[in-house]
Symmetry: C2
Subunit: 197 residues, 2 copies
DNA sequence: CCCTCTACTTACCAGTTGGTAAGGCGACGT
DNA sequence: ACGTCGCCTTACCAACTGGTAAGTAGAGGG
């Protein structure tokens, strides 16, 4: 019991909810994966819904910390945009379930999506403020910051987390092609964001 | 029985699978919505999986026909890109479940995603060939066509089909804000695709 | 030695799941 | 009038769902 049952349940649930989805995952599945009984999960988390909330909270905290670190560590303008994109691709490669959970939860609706949104709100506001500042100072081409963020988020998330769609396009997902997709994404964003001089 | 039970089941299943998801939808739900019993569905489609396949096939056929029409009806270069984006936003507004199904099925894996991919393959190849032609003739800035398609697909799909994410960003989804998102998306794509002269 | 608390397990439950078997019923051909 | 065919229903079923109740093994304190 090195890592504690509760922690291991959270890990297993994050993976399952983020890839197969919440409805498609049963408590018995999770329990089997961890090596305990379903009732051990219910002991720690009360219900399946509360387990999901715990998974969301932990994942949001991790993502917020990660991207705050990126924002602290990098410079301005396009360099920061690039750093965020690189980080997102890195997360997609190393912990795809984290981004998958965002996808899944954003489709679940009432109690859960707002919870996620609340958790991400401050981070997104900071990102928006940063974009506006950079545009004001002429280091980024002017776009509506929220819709720009949404567009870039969608594009990066899609490319980074939908290998099936890549395969459908005739691109076999691999480390090499992901790296290429990341490069192409940065070229694309640079083309759209470089200020017209 | 104006439209036939089977057709109405397909409609109901498309809506449910495309919004709530395949696993989260039971045959009893569908049957209740249509006003028949679950066994009537199984009579027509054999099993839940076969029903999903029928829904996928019909939706793919509809999308292929739609986008082929757009490709036939419009000109070249950016105008065609814009027409495709406009069409996608129109579909997202009028029949969100169609795009939702794509999303959902692309996460289901083995038998279903490849089936969707096969159905879309020819359309995507034609789109790729068109992009390459336009780039060769200098009407679009050069990008890797498949990754460009994937990027644009992800961006448009994300903005068009994830109102929850919009709400999380502080943009209340409405007809007006959707139109604005569409405009901003076209500006964004134009910025990235206008050839450097 | 016993009490208590944590962290589980075994036993169970009612409701729901996808799926089968058999039968009814109206239309249609003969 | 009679078969039969397409379309659907009633009646089931075993497996699984999330969740409850009760009991238990072990650690730590008094």
């Amino acid at each position: 019991m090195a890592r504690g049952t509760a922690e291991r349940v959270l890990d297993e649930a994050l993976t399952a909810f983020g890839t197969r989805g919440f409805a498609a995952t049963s408590l018995d599945d999770l329990a089997g994966g961890v090596g305990v009984t379903k009732q051990a999960i219910l002991y720690h988390f009360g219900s399946k819904e509360q387990l999901l909330e715990a998974v969301i909270d932990r994942s949001v905290a991790e993502l917020v910390e990660l991207y705050d670190g990126v924002a602290r560590g990098t410079t301005t303008g396009l360099a920061r945009v690039e750093a965020v994109v690189r980080t997102t691709f890195a997360v997609a490669a190393r912990r795809p379930e984290l981004l998958g959970l965002l996808r899944q939860v954003s489709r679940l609706g009432d109690p859960h999506t707002p919870r996620l949104a609340r958790g991400m709100h401050d981070l997104l506001e900071r990102a928006c403020a940063h974009l506006v500042r950079e545009m004001d100072e002429g280091r980024l081409r002017r776009h509506e910051p929220r819709l720009l963020l949404l567009t870039a988020y969608s594009a990066v998330m899609g490319v980074a987390t939908e290998p099936e769609v890549m395969r459908a396009m005739g691109v076999e997902p691999s480390l090499k092609s992901m790296a290429r997709a990341r490069r192409e994404m940065i070229v694309f964003l640079r083309a759209a964001l470089t200020p017209v001089s």
